[in-house]
Symmetry: C2
Subunit: 254 residues, 2 copies
């Protein structure tokens, strides 16, 4: 039985609690949080506390708190011989104190309101300093997802950066697209099948091969017409920069 303590009460903590508390080989011995209100969610099913000094003994302590708080909270914990991990994409493992066994368990997902049922193939990226700690994290990560990857701190921060491009920035483009639709009395729902196509294509081929559109074709006439239609300087700038970037990407072929 693996004893786990969760520190933090946000989305990642709730997600891990939900997935791990049902697992027969895990016992969540405690959840620590900043307020009684935030701990409400967990109170009925495990021990809770707002006092970090009341931390109970566990095999793994999972810090699921905001990036900025990780260093300070980690250094204030008295956890003896347990393994301390954080769950942040862009924070190196070395932010955790060198005096403890340390590691990272990073679920590569935004975890914003998506239910665990749907997340069965999210990659769990793990890192540790010692072989035995890798084994513990591998076991724990496999309780969450079948997909477990060894990713070091440098790779992890680049993975997080890559995720910003693929997820956050593409969502913003969906938003800009919806604004253009709205401004011209067109239902954005018409665009949704196209977004599905983007996604479906990128499952089976590389984004390099999947690229279509005026910039890819070098269709300057359409690009000029589009720039003419865009009244907002911000949209114009984004259109120009991304089109230029696409043309640079395929430049050698033209």
């Amino acid at each position: 039985m693996l004893k786990v303590t969760l520190i933090g009460t946000g989305n990642i903590s709730k997600f891990l609690f939900k997935v791990l508390s049902d697992h027969p080989e895990v016992a969540i011995v405690q959840v620590l949080g900043r307020s009684d209100k935030a701990l409400e969610h967990f109170r009925d099913r495990t021990a809770v506390s707002i006092d970090l000094r009341e931390i109970k003994k566990a095999d793994v302590y999972i810090l699921a708190i905001s990036d900025e708080a990780i260093g300070e909270v980690a250094h204030s914990l008295e956890i003896g011989s347990g393994l301390l991990v954080h769950t942040a994409g862009s924070i190196p493992m070395e932010v955790l104190p060198a005096r403890v066994r340390r590691g990272v368990l990073y679920p590569l997902q935004t975890l914003s309101g998506i239910l665990p049922e749907k997340m069965m193939d999210i990659p769990i990226c793990i890192e540790a300093s010692e072989e035995e700690d890798y084994l513990i994290l591998e076991k724990l990560a496999h309780f969450i997802s079948p997909r477990v990857e060894h990713i070091n701190s440098d790779q992890r921060k680049h993975l997080h950066l890559a995720a910003v491009f693929a997820n956050n920035f593409s969502n913003h483009l969906f938003f800009l697209s919806s604004e253009i639709c709205e401004d011209h009395g067109v239902d954005f729902d018409l665009i949704r099948p196209l977004i599905r196509e983007s996604y479906t294509k990128v499952l089976s081929q590389s984004p390099y091969d999947a690229q279509t559109g005026p910039a890819r074709r070098g269709d300057n006439k359409t690009m000029d017409a589009h720039l003419e239609m865009l009244r907002s300087p911000r949209l114009k700038e984004i259109y120009e920069l991304l089109s230029k970037s696409i043309q640079n990407t395929y430049g050698k072929e033209l």
Copy 2:
């Protein structure tokens, strides 16, 4: 029985041929193309010709050719009393000669190698000048997809522009994301579940509400760290511009 002639032999023509030639209420009477080789695909199943003067009588003539060629080819056709439509997103209906009944049948999809089986809910955007022509196009469009929308030329060109943002530009961000992964020895496949999440979220909520990430949170520390990590000036510029655009979008809330 609706008699249809296809002019053009590319993806859209092949798609329309596949969907319509199986339909009991449609007869594809002819496919016209620029070369015998391009017509090979259709030869066994309908009349074909490379000579526009040999055009047969039909109820609807569908121009499925490149944007630039539409005006010239349309003006050279002798089609009598038939209805002439093009299939282009960014070309106004008025490019077709005023002397004929004219319209537009625009399948809002990139049609690049996706099989018709998967395209059952793609929106077909139709436009015509006369009520009776709308009725014909509605009927024909419903043979292709259950989703038929009346979209005028101004709306259609903005829809096409919106599609560039949602589809072409987001695919390029997937590519940039894959480049970052590759440069740091990380498998881009790890990112794919995140892309699925983007898509799943945008099905059920507005992209405005779905936005996450450092720019949305106003997390300057992470954004500075990301800019530091990006060595390519082009990626830096894209990161800065899209982050600024996200911050502007949510600025009033901060």
